[in-house]
């Protein structure tokens, strides 16, 4: 009777003020059967790591439009590691210049999604990362 669901934290660090993109992704993940913890705007890396710990998520998705990704992302990853959540997969979405992508991946980010990304791709990537599943159905 046991049931496992992929749990994803969608967080919006930084000071930029709208979360339309984050909400679209949250809904798409829900529609793919995942449980999405949504924490709202202006989260500090500390708040994000704390929520990830209390919610025991498999994935953290960070939506960043402010340009502060090179400061925020490594801090979140560092805090997750400090808390023993090394296995948590981190994705980044938003406006990220191409030249920053390799550095982010170097830090441990699994994938970076720019504007126009298909949500079905994000769903497939998360399933693959968490379940080791290649299947794109659903």
């Amino acid at each position: 009777m046991s049931e496992r669901r992929i749990r994803v934290l969608i967080a919006k660090p930084g000071l930029d003020g709208h979360d339309r993109g984050a909400k679209v992704v949250a809904r798409a993940l829900r529609d793919a059967g995942m449980e999405v913890i949504y924490t709202g705007l202006r989260q500090t890396p500390e708040m994000i790591a704390e929520a990830a710990l209390q919610e025991d998520v498999d994935v953290v998705g960070l939506s960043i439009l402010s340009g502060a990704h090179m400061a925020l992302v490594p801090r979140v990853i560092e805090l997750l590691r400090q808390n023993g959540q090394d296995h948590v997969k981190v994705f980044v979405g938003g406006i990220i210049p191409d030249e920053d992508v390799p550095a982010l991946k170097e830090m441990g980010v699994l994938e970076v999604y720019g504007p126009g990304t298909l949500t079905s791709d994000i769903v497939a990537d998360i399933r693959k990362a968490v379940l080791g599943e290649d299947d794109q159905s659903g």
Partner: protein, 339 residues
């Protein structure tokens, strides 16, 4: 060190992982619950129910903050379990209650866990009671349980919690209509939140009227054969040791009325302890849990011994209107015994 030991020693990540195992109903989760069970029974369990948007999460945020920063006395540690609905189609969920609980971040005396209902009706998830037990064993002194609030009377919460708050707000359609039958029976405390909004007074009045209708005996008592009227102060005790739910106005967004609400909760707790209700509710909750589990386990065992083919045959007879459902059950039970 075992994960249960870690939970008992206050390791928050161990606790979080155990909650996941309980939620997923795994063998590890069941073993952990069994090991933690002797440490449960200390926390004050406070249920918060009411329609979506009435301000349940905002109120829990303020109340929890109040317990962490009390005007007098020692702060209490607080856990929050917030349940949101799973989509019946995909099984997915968006759990957004934390948005309203920002004031509690960075405080190690607070632990917030979001849960999806995972198909359960009645406002809680199947595993909510287990999750609450684990938080209780981990030593949290006050545990808030925020229900889905999908509209129907969510009676499960009254069974789980010591104190149930029913939250109403003005401007959510017809005030009296919005107050669902059954909701008054489960309320220990009625909250009119969004008291800054027009209509708060009439919502409050409607609730008080409905309370009177629901409990006419509280106003009129027979005294030596004559009916006489007695005034029972809301939230107060009286000769018959009956609790009359107080109606409390709050503005969660402005932190107004929270101290009155906390005082009413404290009063209810005292009432429960003084009258023996605390014990009684504990026993009722645990006996219901045992009964539910027994039912589930028996069904599962029975299904294991039941040949699928026989089961289908009997069902077909029901479809053809040759057997009534009750007769079908009789027939299935007697054949399973024989096998």
């Amino acid at each position: 060190m075992s994960i249960v030991q870690q939970v008992l020693e206050g390791n928050r990540y161990a606790l979080s992982r155990v909650l996941t195992q309980i939620e997923n109903d795994t063998t590890e989760g069941r073993e952990a619950l069994a090991a933690l069970f002797p440490y449960t029974g200390k926390a004050h369990l406070i249920g918060v129910t009411g329609a979506p948007g009435t301000g349940k999460s905002s109120l829990v945020n303020r109340l929890a903050y109040f317990y962490r920063h009390p005007p007098e006395g020692e702060p209490k540690t607080v856990a929050i379990v917030a349940v949101d609905p799973s989509s019946p189609f995909t099984g997915g969920a968006i759990l957004g209650d934390r948005i309203r609980m920002r004031d509690l971040t960075g405080d190690r005396g607070v632990f917030i866990r979001s849960m999806a209902s995972r198909g359960a009706l009645g406002g809680l998830a199947r595993a909510t009671a287990g999750v609450v037990q684990a938080l209780d064993a981990a030593g949290f002194e006050v545990i808030f349980i925020e229900t889905v609030g999908a509209g129907q009377a969510e009676v499960d919460i009254a069974r789980l919690a010591h104190t149930t708050l029913v939250v109403e707000a003005p401007g959510l359609g017809d005030d009296v209509q919005a107050i669902k039958a059954g909701i008054l029976e489960i309320a220990d405390i009625l909250v009119v939140n969004k008291a800054d909004r027009p209509g708060a007074i009439s919502t409050e009045r409607a609730l008080i009227e409905m309370l009177k209708l629901a409990h006419p005996s509280r106003e009129m008592v027979s005294h030596h054969g004559q009916m006489m009227k007695v005034e029972i102060p809301a939230g107060g005790e009286n000769d018959s040791e009956e609790w009359v739910p107080p109606v409390i106005k709050t503005v969660a967004t402005e932190n107004k009325g929270i101290d009155e609400l906390a005082a009413a909760i404290a009063k209810h707790r005292e009432f429960l302890q003084k009258t023996g209700e605390w014990e009684a509710r504990d026993r009722l909750r645990l006996s219901t849990e045992v009964e539910d589990l027994l039912g589930e386990t028996l069904l599962r065992r029975w299904q294991k011994n039941m040949p699928e083919r026989k089961y289908r045959e009997v069902l077909e007879q029901v479809f053809a209107r040759r057997l009534a459902p009750a007769e079908a059950v009789e027939s299935l039970l007697s054949s399973a015994q024989g096998s």
